[in-house]
């Protein structure tokens, strides 16, 4: 190798290193821009916790709606008004639980979730949840909740109209219908609905229906029928008593 060749090679190597450096800087620049823009979009899109949100009368500090007078065991029920499996649960398992609540054997706490709005591309879960809050504000959450599930549309995603939500309230006998209608129209407890969703997610609830007995998720994954689910729930409650 001549001296000139050697110099040329070193020059080429230096240029190549410079080019690689430029490229790495450009890649890092793209990455930095995406990180900044991505975090900004993420922060804007994530629902904000708003602990000072208006809550319906008588709900727990985490937004859950307590039903029943027993002190324990506490059965947390996570449901979405648009979830067809929740309706199956309501039809087949909930009546037994309701009897246990009635008999003072358990205390139920309802957590109404609203994530199906995203899957179903509507806002019915949130509006129905708000309406249930409006009913709770007048002391009739449980009755209203049952009425909504009883009238869940056969087609998942058909949703609920405001007129339907008001009709349900008339059926269950909400005392002050004007107040209820305003509550629905103004989305009065919208922040409460968001808060309940966030709190449920923070408890690792990713699907509905989910049941917890004294904070422990009831595993019914092995059950193939609603009777099997009911048995699993009853066993979990018996173990906690």
């Amino acid at each position: 190798m001549t001296k000139q060749d050697d110099k040329k090679a070193r020059q080429a190597a230096a240029q190549q290193a410079a080019r690689r450096r430029t490229r790495v800087i450009m890649i890092l620049a793209v990455f930095a821009v995406v990180v900044i823009a991505g975090v900004a979009v993420w922060a804007a899109k994530r629902p904000q916790s708003n602990p000072s949100a208006a809550m319906p009368a008588g709900v727990n500090s985490d937004g859950g709606v307590p039903v029943g007078t027993a002190a324990s065991p506490i059965v947390d029920v996570f449901e979405d008004f648009q979830c067809p499996i929740c309706k199956g649960f309501e039809d087949n398992v909930a009546p037994t639980l309701d009897q246990m609540v009635e008999a003072g054997q358990i205390k139920q706490v309802y957590h109404i979730m609203s994530f199906l709005d995203i899957n179903l591309k509507n806002d019915s879960s949130k509006r129905a949840a708000n309406a249930a809050g409006c009913a709770q504000d007048q002391g009739l959450f449980f009755e209203y909740h049952n009425e909504v599930f009883a009238n869940q549309p056969a087609t998942e995603g058909a949703g609920y109209t405001d007129d339907q939500l008001i009709q349900f309230a008339e059926t269950v006998g909400i005392p002050d219908m004007n107040r209820f209608k305003q509550c629905v129209a103004n989305d009065t407890f919208g922040n409460w609905v968001t808060q309940m969703e966030i709190n449920s997610e923070n408890r690792q609830v990713t699907g509905t229906p989910t049941l917890m007995v004294n904070g422990k998720v009831v595993d019914w994954s092995q059950a193939s029928t609603w009777n099997g689910v009911l048995t699993a729930v009853q066993e979990a409650i018996a173990a906690a008593q």
């Binding site: 240029q15 793209v30 993420w42 899957n119 923070n202």
Partner: protein, 175 residues
């Protein structure tokens, strides 16, 4: 040796296609962060705090790689990252499958727990799709040099200033 020019144009097509896939996957997650978080949680692989980081970090990585592929900047590097992501995705779906979870992969937004009907078919489809994407990435790792790319532009500039550029197919310029 294949016809270099044809290979380079083919690499351009593969690069842009893969860029579209990664951008779509990343943007869908970023624009529905609640859904993305739910999808990550549904895999039940990470703890709650890590789920948050994955749900924001994954779309950022996907979009970055998508932009790099679209620009043809650091093509081979971006292709390696893509292939690595696909390995992780396949592992994630396979682990959900093995554990008997019934979830939607959340690959292009969406995701979360879903009814278990048709579960096996869905998991197979998801894994098969990831394998196809991985094949595209492997092509780009093998043939990173493509037309209409920033990588090539910098090489062209290098040629103009009299630098000796060896066959780009054989060099590791883009990494």
């Amino acid at each position: 040796m294949m016809n270099t020019e044809r290979t380079q144009w083919l690499s351009t097509v593969v690069r842009v296609a893969l860029a579209g896939i990664m951008l779509w996957a990343g943007l869908a997650k970023l624009l529905e962060p609640d859904q993305a978080l739910r999808a990550v949680q549904a895999y039940r692989i990470f703890s709650s705090s890590i789920d948050d980081i994955v749900a924001i970090g994954l779309p950022i990585v996907e979009i970055t790689v998508g932009v790099l592929l679209l620009l043809g900047l650091g093509t081979r590097f971006a292709a390696w990252v893509t292939a690595g992501l696909m390995v992780l995705f396949i592992a994630g779906v396979a682990s959900a499958w093995i554990r008997g979870l019934s979830i939607d992969c959340g690959c292009f937004g969406g995701g979360g727990d879903v009814p278990s009907a048709g579960r096996v078919g869905r998991y197979l489809t998801e894994i098969g799709r990831d394998l196809v994407f991985m094949a595209l990435a492997v092509w780009l790792i093998r043939f990173p040099s493509s037309r209409l790319s920033l990588d090539r532009l910098t090489d062209d500039i290098a040629v103009e200033i009299g630098e000796d550029v060896t066959n780009p197919d054989e060099t590791d310029e883009s990494s």
